[in-house]
Point group: C2
Chain length 245, copies 2
Amino acid sequence: MRNFKLTMQYDGSRYKGWQRLGSSDMTIQERIENVLIKMTGEKIELIGSGRTDAGVHALQQAANFKTKDQRSVKEIIAYLNAYLPEDIVIKRVEEVNERFHARYNAVSKTYMYRIWNHSYSNPFLRKHIVHIPEELNLVAMKQAACFLIGEHDFTSFRASKSKKKSNIRTIYSIEIHKNETIIEMMVHGSGFLHNMVRIIVGTLLEVGRGKMKPETVKYILDQRDRSLAGATAPAKGLFLYTIEY
Amino acid sequence: MRNFKLTMQYDGSRYKGWQRLGSSDMTIQERIENVLIKMTGEKIELIGSGRTDAGVHALQQAANFKTKDQRSVKEIIAYLNAYLPEDIVIKRVEEVNERFHARYNAVSKTYMYRIWNHSYSNPFLRKHIVHIPEELNLVAMKQAACFLIGEHDFTSFRASKSKKKSNIRTIYSIEIHKNETIIEMMVHGSGFLHNMVRIIVGTLLEVGRGKMKPETVKYILDQRDRSLAGATAPAKGLFLYTIEY
């Protein structure tokens, strides 16, 4: 069997997330699988690097699939982009070692969260950014973010319905930049629990608004209690940014 | 009566253009007028600098309206942005001389046309850009554009159903830039006939694709015959960019 790695971008606005849900075809995995099934005539399983939730975007998502199909890499990318909707774009197709697995082999991931920080919204970016009109204390947010760096039990920053056994993850860095009216938060880690980036962002925003002290983030982390952390920030500001293999 | 000038941005994707159409409220003029009527309790007429067609965007559109309302400029902008949909944003409100008229006083206008020039589409920009995968000969397009500079009868570059009496307009400049994968065409002129920018772009694209010689654009201009020029380029790539008063 040949094994192919796909690298893709998508606007998640109208999808129920990455993961196949059964009957609906409004997931990104299913949309791509359906085109691969049509192309190869085989039953294809597309393995993503991980899930993205409903409404979350990807500037770089990766996945792999196995096939007996003899098409070239160039033919596969052309076929996929011809049949996929405009909001899912395959950027690269590579033939990889048979043992490559898009989820197990992912070493780390970076997510980006984007905020439009201006009195009035931006009509052109509004579907891919979250509008926050108030001034935010970025220094306090950066201080708070430092408590999350390193290996920790992130139970407090995980969707409460999440069923994963271990809640221990490592965050390598959280960078917060402001360019004119756009704040970008880059979170780089070994892996992420369900909603983890959005809960981290929601909590740092409470700090930025002066409603929480930076040190409280350390307390929240130690308590392992989701109810202490901030709200889950909206999906539309979140982008899966890169996956390192 | 007080006279106010509004400067605004809008994403035209879901609207039937600027101009009020009667019963529907899916025009930008009506959406803003309705909020002004609610705010003042008066019958308000909003005068735009000119129309934009269905699906055309504005990075800067201007309009004026007269009222007896005693609100401050700050209160008016806050009221408008609170009640307008997210895809229409008022950037500035100024109290102006009673004789200021957004259409009659406009001295010149600049339109921008944006093209995504890459094999595959961009999922995030796709509603505000036109995707053209083929390589375009920008030098030939710039040569062709030169024939349109100056005062001319633009009958060949006007929607054929247009009823304006004079088809003479002046184009001051047409600039064509490419930054990585985005081509921006800036057209600055005294005023524009119906669909004029989009027909100019459609014609220059024929030149860029090698289907028309640059000199043919001069011939088309001289013939005053709409059927000789290129197709009307899609609305979603066009932005009203600035209006000079």
